[in-house]
Symmetry: C2
């Protein structure tokens, strides 16, 4: 059965003239034990909620996964799709893509992401098990990872978090083949992985990765452990290949016809390319059907839940966040704001919004990378998750932004949870690879990122984002919200929550902001990404002022100043570029307006703004890094003031 994987991998890579045969051939025995005898899954129901999750962290070994999906009988991967490996539009892309192929649990390829995502899945499992009981939620998360996964720093954040939370249902099979692209891993690595994992609170052992009974025994032991488990499986990369086995030459290139012929001989595999003998295919298909009864029994248990519980469970597993519930929550937040209008930092406004949203949406699981009080992501009364009580809905991620972002992806992929959490905006750089995957996968994760400009003050340029808004807006699919006051903050939260196929970043201020919007007006003005906050008065607008977040109040003040000079000006708030750019051109143009002078204000670099103000529009913002000092001093120093905005507008008007 394992040789079927090896043959398919060799053949598909050879036909594609591109790919990675080494890992599938080396890890075939591990995968055969796991999918053939252990994994709880049903190819007929790829989305069965209580299935075991399998994450191929070493995504370059995608043919391993595609072979398994084909062999066990997933509809998504036919033999034709395997023959179209790595071709445009196939269901078998170069690295596994969750949106492309049913049966793939997460998109992998950038190393370290898979194992860190799996930690999130394992958290989700424990959390939902605490909520719905073991009759409903009772599965494992398995990971196959490579040396590269374990060298990436994110792996340390992931294993430390998993060890701390005692995620005993997380079992990592490490394809310990001693080979990476440059050659033997001894060129660059001397880490004792077993000791490393043990130091993080894991169980760890080493076995022969080509011995099925040893693999099975190790997995069974791991299943009974009270800690997450690492099973280092000593393997030979490209097992069976006559000259390239055990060599980096088999890692990322086709083996070549001669080598493949030799491997077929070594493995005793006589079938032609892409043909799996009937008896072997039948055995695989039988293995794929192993859990069918378990699934039926599970469905009965779900059906037997009290009606209300079942409805809520179904809703959550479908990832459905009802619009009317969001509307009601938004109305409640606005009611609170109307009752208590005052200046608030948008991070505090976010906390106020969460105070309504968290009770209203049990699927929200929050957290922070050790900045809980600064990010304001834990509204009063929200219990923390701990190894003793997984029902807690707030996660202390530690100083692990990258691991946090990946774990959030894992929770969103697992389903039943809408994860949000917090760090400083400047540290979005630390979690960018995981945010990118959320974009690529189209998953609802919500990043609360506070201290979003030089407005954070004294901590200085290492902590002041200036390029991060642009860099995040550059990422396809990501919604970057930068609300200007408490009302917009609530509206942006509502939009992020409603976006079930897009991740969001909420960029929030440390410093206080006045409430610019009337909280008694319902509806969501942020839905178009930009809108006229204040119209021109005393005539058609001569100046349009565009701003986001904490700079909207500066634009508002500049408008007043311009009025003193008799210049009618309007203010457009732009809480979300991406939603604005999604509008039809006509509506976009209507918001941009036809005032002869356009000025944008944002305490960040200009890049990206030209699409709104035009390349001849004026921009008041940053041109380089910030500095350490009190925030008001910095705004003055960098010239981001109402006076300067008005001055720039006036000089533009004069130049017309």
């Amino acid at each position: 059965m394992a040789n079927a994987i090896r043959a398919l991998a060799m053949d598909a890579v050879e036909k594609a003239k591109s790919g990675h045969p080494g890992l599938p051939m080396g890890a075939a025995d591990i995968a055969t034990v796991l999918f053939g005898r252990v994994l709880k899954f049903d190819p007929a129901a790829p989305h069965w909620f209580d299935r075991d999750r399998f994450v191929l962290s070493a995504g370059h070994g995608s043919m391993l996964l595609y072979a398994l999906l084909y062999l066990t009988g997933f509809k998504s991967v036919s033999i034709e799709e395997i023959q179209r490996f790595r071709q445009l539009g196939s269901l078998t892309p170069g690295h596994p893509e969750v949106e492309a192929t049913e049966g793939v649990e997460t998109t992998t390829g950038p190393l370290g992401q898979g194992i860190a995502t799996a930690v999130g899945m394992a958290i989700a499992e424990r959390h939902l098990a605490a909520e719905y009981g073991p009759e409903i939620i009772d599965h494992h998360t398995y990971v196959l990872c490579s040396d590269g996964d374990l060298m990436e720093g994110i792996s340390q954040e992931a294993i430390a978090l998993a060890g701390h939370l005692k995620l005993a249902r997380l079992i990592v099979l490490y394809d310990d083949n001693h080979i990476s692209i440059d050659g033997p891993t001894s060129l660059s690595d001397s880490v004792d992985q077993l000791e490393r994992f043990r130091s993080a609170g894991w169980a760890a052992c080493r076995i022969d990765g080509h011995d099925p009974e040893a693999i099975l025994a190790a997995i069974e032991t791991a299943q009974t452990s009270d800690r997450p488990s690492l099973i280092a499986c000593r393997t030979t990369i490209a097992f069976g290949a006559p000259t390239k086995a055990g060599s980096e030459k088999s890692h990322g290139s086709p083996l070549g016809a001669e080598e493949i012929a030799g491997a077929r001989k070594n493995l005793g595999w006589t079938s032609p390319p892409f043909v799996v003998p009937d008896d072997i295919l039948s055995a695989w298909r039988a293995a794929g059907a192993r859990s069918r009864e378990a699934r039926a029994a599970w469905a009965q248990r779900v059906a037997a839940l009290p009606a209300e519980t079942r409805a809520e469970f179904d809703r959550r597993t479908r990832g459905e966040v009802p619009a009317d519930r969001i509307d009601a929550a938004l109305a409640e937040i606005k009611r609170q704001l109307a009752a208590d209008p005052k200046d608030r930092a948008s991070r505090s406004s976010s906390e106020l919004a969460l105070g309504v949203l968290v009770p209203a949406f049990p699927e929200l699981v929050g957290g922070s990378a050790d900045l809980t009080g600064s990010n304001n992501t834990r509204p009063k009364g929200m219990p923390a998750m701990s190894p003793d009580d997984y029902s807690g809905r707030f996660i202390h991620y530690g100083i692990r932004e990258h691991g946090m972002a990946a774990a959030m992806n894992g929770m969103a992929l697992h389903g039943g949870i809408v994860p949000y959490s917090g760090t400083f905006l400047v540290f979005s750089d630390y979690c960018r690879p995981s945010i990118r995957l959320a974009c690529l996968m189209g998953r609802r994760v919500i990043h609360v990122m506070t201290h979003d400009s030089i407005g954070l003050g004294e901590d200085g340029p290492t902590h002041q984002p200036v390029e991060h808004l642009a860099a995040l807006r550059a990422m396809p699919h990501l919604q970057v919200f930068r609300p200007c006051d408490a009302v917009e903050t609530a509206e942006c939260w509502a939009l992020a929550l409603a976006s079930n196929h897009r991740p969001s970043v909420l960029a929030l201020s440390r410093q206080n902001l006045p409430q610019l919007r009337d909280a008694t007006i319902l509806g969501n003005r942020c839905v178009d990404g930009a809108y006229e906050l204040l119209a021109a008065e005393g005539g058609p607008a001569r100046v349009s002022l565009f701003a986001t977040g904490s700079e909207v109040m500066i634009a508002v003040a500049a408008r007043e100043r311009l009025a003193e000079f008799g210049i009618p000006a309007r203010v457009v708030s732009v809480p979300c570029f991406e939603l604005f750019f999604d509008l039809p051109e006509e509506r976009r143009e209507a918001v941009i307006g036809d005032a002869p002078v356009k000025v944008a204000v944002e305490a960040a670099i200009r890049q990206g703004w030209d699409a709104i103000i035009g390349s001849h529009g004026a921009f008041v913002g940053m041109t380089g890094f910030g500095a350490s000092g009190p925030a008001p001093d910095l705004y003055r120093h960098f010239g981001i003031t109402p006076e300067r905005v008005a001055e720039v507008a006036l000089s533009k008007l004069q130049a017309l």
Copy 2:
């Protein structure tokens, strides 16, 4: 003496109404032993090349460092500057900044960066010691790090690399205070750090961080180890504070007048704020003068070097890369290209350039994050560095992009080395926090980033950068080069090498590119960032085509196609936005030209291009993520072809 640090830290944070008193007070005893009895340094010569390096990885504890610099007698930090802690324009910003304050070895604050940067310093020390001998290079690198530093994933990459390379001169003092911002570290962490470091090949021990003799003994033991050393110093955060000691309340806020009064009493410190008693200051100043003789002796040894060796040593330690040597190397590369013109991937062109540069510039130390053969960063004959031979100039960094980038910063900061290394462009996301620090510090590090677009083909969207050029161009000070052929690649290498205060990224293709430039023409056309590669023929230009890298050949072909329609078009190559934007407006406008239609072509998103083509210019590129498939299929699929470019230009012309 330690209490002088504590008092200054309390007072400065209190006066600034902002800052982190907890760490300086907790780590004062460690710092006093290190600076008072161990560290080889001379406040009168902050740049003494053979000084020990001290990295405050926990940069938020900046007052610890400023207190030490003041107490030991650095000119940069007067008591007035300490009183101006965290004020705009002071020499004592919120986090240590290497460019702001003499005596600060590296900018820190984003956690994990310091320890990873220190690994690069320790590598530099060993490498230069191998080259110049222990008489000239013989120092240690000390790090003070916090829990947060060790939770960040980058720390794992750093310690694994240091352990593998057996960097015995690296000694990390871990301020093991069990407190992070959210509260006790037990909220989020259960890692046994000693075992973790040991698993990475380090020596590790735990001591009482308030016992000076234990600290000294541990450091002396570490100095004799054949491995890097971790010394976990069990401390009490805010040691001496009556109610906030041992609590997260002291981490990041002023203690308050009452608490400070109590701490003064507890510590027996009777001086008023910002006053250090004469006897204690004298003791500190004497400690600061400890190594004066050692420095004089060292200077004599340097003076005694053979004239040529000394001249080269001086040149390298000054970071001087002579223009004439660069010109000569560039001429030699062009000679080779002229002699053997052929299609080359720009990554191969880069390898060819390195074949000339590496022998010409002994300060170049290269590497790759396990993609040596793909990044083409190791020209023939370049020996690898190993724990047995530090003279090697190529570093196998392992799959550790972030640790690599930080280590490069450390080498550049140490001096004597110009580091370059390689990964895929998409993985620039993994090392962004370190690249940002290189920008902030203005250090010459050169990132070779290959596989720079969908042109990498089958590996698919996880590996295809689309937003990374924009995201990197967003970063202040960074030079992002994307050369279009072998000649431009050589010219961009020359510019990167000459930029002694700016980091560079070279974005290079996997796929072959024709040689578009005449290699027999000397000089460097890339110096302005953009230039007219092909003028319009048959009349004034109706269309200006702008492109970078692998898309310049598409623009060239589109120009030919337009010529068939009788439309004169010119092609502008834009190898470096940043250099182009540095030009005076007049020269920029001259390059942009006045053709009525402007079209940009880049296999990436549009963001940033409006500054060149205007917001009404046309853009042919990507609007979302790529896909898995052969590169030519992808270029067709996404419509990045000469036909499409010509079509877009024609339709723009018709609309005029």
